[in-house]
């Protein structure tokens, strides 16, 4: 769907130096969109005819409000495109394609564990809302640069959801000092009721034994830096916990027509195949993703 989204809110999110923005667009996209999908936004008011920057920018849906006819996009000013986008004012119209791609799939029952790195948190909020609405229990693991970032990027909103939250920061200013994957690993151990200093590699067999019980209870969804998602996936695979990952790639068409945004997966037969992040994703089963492949 191609629509002209009306800018109804466009504001700084948290501390100015975090360069985060909240953009609410009014339009019919809200009617059909779901968590994990994204839109492709033209960064200048659609009445301006400029071909520089040329391409639309993919931004995830952070919130979908079908009743208000509104979608919320949260983004970080990263380069030229988002810099220009940040200048859009209320009342302007931005050309928006979407909703695009396939979102996350919620499990029927059990726990949904969200693992976010940095601004990877943004698409997970819509997912948490859907999951809670469906009666799932949700748990968040979130790592960021520092306290200022986490607070700016919407920690309060998350806390308002009343779910268990595990935070960590690189500098230790909030939550644990370190990586979110360590917290995830700890919690996975705990869920297996395995304690002690055992290295992950040593418990693999034990984990496998326990796999049925845990994999039926927990689903992991993750978004963040590729490296982080890779470790999250490896951890989950060790515990036979299904994991959904939201990938990013540079996009041209955003509808599957140009093959610009492929990622490499391994299919059932063990063959390497390409899938399109825009059309087949951005959410994939972590187990299928070939993380280090560059073919």
């Amino acid at each position: 769907m191609l629509t002209e989204g009306l800018v109804v809110v466009h504001e700084c999110l948290g501390e100015a130096d975090q360069m985060l923005r909240r953009l609410v667009l009014s339009g019919p996209i809200a009617k059909t969109a779901k968590a994990g999908q994204f839109v492709a936004v033209q960064v200048q008011d659609s009445s301006i005819s400029s071909f520089d920057p040329l391409l639309r920018r993919p931004i995830s849906l952070a919130e979908v409000s079908p009743d208000q006819n509104e979608i919320t996009l949260l983004y970080r000013i990263q380069g030229r495109g988002t810099e220009i986008l940040a200048r859009a004012r209320c009342g302007e119209r931005l050309s928006v394609m979407g909703p695009l791609g396939n979102g996350f799939s919620l499990p029927e029952v059990g726990e949904l564990w969200l693992v976010a790195g940095g601004i990877g948190i943004f698409p997970l909020y819509a997912l948490a809302q859907s999951a809670l609405a469906q009666g799932l229990s949700v748990r968040l693991f979130w790592g960021g640069e520092n306290q200022s970032f986490l607070r700016s990027a919407g920690l309060n909103d998350w806390q308002a959801l009343g779910i268990p939250i595990h935070l960590c920061t690189l500098d230790g200013t909030l939550g644990d000092k370190g990586f979110v994957t360590e917290q995830l690993q700890g919690r996975l151990f705990q869920s297996f009721q395995l304690f002690g200093q055992t290295k992950l590699i040593n418990i693999e067999n034990q984990a496998n034994n326990a796999q049925h019980s845990i994999s039926e209870q927990i689903t992991v969804a993750t978004c963040g830096p590729k490296k982080m998602m890779q470790v999250v996936t490896e951890l989950c695979m060790n515990f036979a916990v299904p994991v959904q990952v939201s990938l990013e790639e540079r996009m041209g068409c955003a509808v599957g027509a140009c093959l610009g945004c492929v990622c490499t997966l391994v299919d059932e037969t063990g063959t390497l195949i390409h899938k399109k992040v825009c059309q087949d994703g951005p959410v994939f089963r972590g187990e299928e993703v070939v993380w280090d492949e560059s073919c």
Partner: protein, 306 residues
């Protein structure tokens, strides 16, 4: 109620209108269905295929440049066999003219594909890509040497009863010489232009941005080069031209028609505006009406006559 005849004859094919979409930017015809109904288009050109399946290049495959796009997809495609089995049957049901685009790494590659694709396949024509700049030792050779270009077109022409469109590379000293070679080879029409060879460097990483180092430059940035080549070839050679390279608005399309293109094709412009083909078609129609023209064909090459 329109009084403008938009139908376009090209290489013996009858098109509903002169607005096509370009190979590699419009998938296999279905991806843009939500944005632009196929039956509104004059035709579509499918993603380039090769005899064997190809995974193409690593990512990043795309880099944005000022008013342009670099791509190095590397001819990812399912291969001829899978194309015949899974895609061709759909083609028959598509409510518009469908042009297949073939690429190869040897004369035999091209011949083999041409033999497999005949008029009874439901295809309207075969576009022969002798210009893809992304594949090492690939199409580039055929696309820059007139003798090879003539050979490959002649081989394809002999192998199929479909009309042949030769798609030329702009990365040559003498585009007219290449067009003449294609004509000698028996091309029924020419597609002008493919992408300009370019590259871009990531100054943070201090290495080429595209995994493939080089990529093909497309989009509005290259339009002046494309219009010039269409103009030069139209002056020199009597073959219908499908003009492309940076067309994003109806004004751009009219520019190509005036320069001598019989039809126009939209590539990167679809990424900018997925309804570009519709907007452009409407714009061409309005322009003809404003000029008091009864047929879009009256525009073709008009700027040469002034």
């Amino acid at each position: 109620m329109s009084h403008v005849d938009l139908t376009t004859e090209l290489a013996g094919i009858s098109l509903r209108n002169p607005v096509l979409t370009s190979s590699g930017t419009y998938g296999f015809g279905e991806e843009y269905a939500d944005y632009c109904p196929l039956e509104a288009l004059g035709g579509i050109t499918l993603k380039g295929i090769t005899p064997l399946p190809r995974l193409g290049n690593s990512v990043p495959r795309l880099a944005e440049t000022p008013a342009g796009l670099l791509n190095a997809v590397g001819l990812e495609n399912p291969g001829l066999e899978e194309f015949l089995v899974s895609y061709l049957p759909k083609v028959r049901r598509m409510p518009t003219a469908v042009i297949a685009n073939i690429s190869g790494f040897s004369l035999e590659d091209y011949e083999r594909m041409a033999r497999a694709l005949q008029a009874d396949s439901g295809l309207a024509a075969l576009e022969v890509n002798i210009s893809c700049p992304n594949v090492k030792h690939g199409g580039m050779h055929f696309g820059t040497d007139p003798r090879s270009a003539e050979e490959v077109i002649a081989a394809v022409k002999a192998a199929t009863d479909l009309p042949i469109i030769a798609k030329l590379s702009p990365n040559v000293t003498d585009i007219v010489g290449m067009a003449r070679a294609a004509q000698r080879g028996g091309a029924d029409a020419l597609s002008l232009i493919n992408t300009l060879l370019g590259m871009s460097i990531d100054i943070e990483q201090q290495r080429p941005l595209l995994a493939n180092t080089f990529g093909g430059l497309s989009g509005p940035a290259i339009r002046p080069v494309a219009v010039r080549m269409v103009w030069q070839v139209a002056e020199a050679i009597d073959l219908p031209i499908i003009g492309m390279g940076g067309i994003t608005t109806w004004q751009d399309a009219v520019e190509f028609l005036l320069a001598g293109a019989t039809a126009i094709s939209i590539g990167t412009g679809n990424f900018v505006n997925p309804q570009a083909p519709l907007d452009i078609l409407q714009g061409i129609k309005n322009y003809c009406e404003k000029c008091g023209m009864t047929s879009v064909h009256d525009l073709v090459g008009l700027a040469h006559k002034a």
